[in-house]
């Protein structure tokens, strides 16, 4: 099975779970390939995965992803 891996700056091998757009910024959700509960959310800027500014941005993006990747009922 083909899986997309990304190596983080600290050496962790992560699996790319999803990419999505929010406020004209592209984000990626990854999970540590050796720890199923170790998730990472980063923004994609100029072919780099960059950390978010602060917890406020994290919460907005985190909840946007969960609340809008579905159809309205």
């Amino acid at each position: 099975m083909d899986v997309t891996f990304i190596k983080l700056e600290d050496g962790r091998d992560c699996i790319l779970l999803d990419e999505f757009n929010y406020n004209n910024i592209k984000y990626a959700i990854l999970v540590n390939s050796l720890d199923k509960d170790d998730f990472i959310l980063r923004k994609i800027i100029n072919d780099n995965l960059v950390g978010l500014e602060n917890e406020e941005e994290f919460q907005k993006v985190f909840m946007y992803y969960f609340n809008t990747r579905i159809k309205d009922i």
């Binding site: 099975m1 579905i70 009922i73």
Partner: protein, 199 residues
Amino acid sequence: MDNGEKHETIYQKTLNNSIGPNKKTLYYKIHRRVALSVSLLTLLLTFSTSSLIGCAKSEDSSKDSKYVDKYYGYSVYSIYLYENSRAIALMEKYNLTNYTQNTQNGIERRNYNYTADDYKKIKELNETYIHGVYNICILDNVNEVCKALGYADFNDFLVKNSYVNSKGEPSIDAWAEADLKQISEIMKNESGESDKGSR
């Protein structure tokens, strides 16, 4: 550690992994044909998504309190996210990854370049995957998946399963309720299996 504590821990860990402009790595994708068995890797991805859903559950469960007893405590959002990820994982397992990103009714949707004959090759495909496909794909894809399962199209699937309104017309609302119950049952059963595995 109970589930609430576990999900809070996962949330904090994800937060720590994600914030800080000093965190930076090249977005260089490496595609690997893994040595792990397919079932093991699918399990990893499924439980990974379930853990992330658990965070969403603890974050928004207060807003969906009316669903607490109805869907084993899972929020509507977490159920939909789980079934979306489940459908995607199944497609990827069979290397059905050729799609474009379209916008339909203002919402981003995937448009997979496959027909019913391609979906018939998916041994595990059953009706519990249709709602996940419906959430993430354009309607044409949903029709093809339904055809692979023996229906004429998506409307035929709704009507034959009695997901209809008072006039007997296909009804998404009637289907959504049944789907939420069905998928939450699957999530509950898989959560029970993962707890056994961690002992």
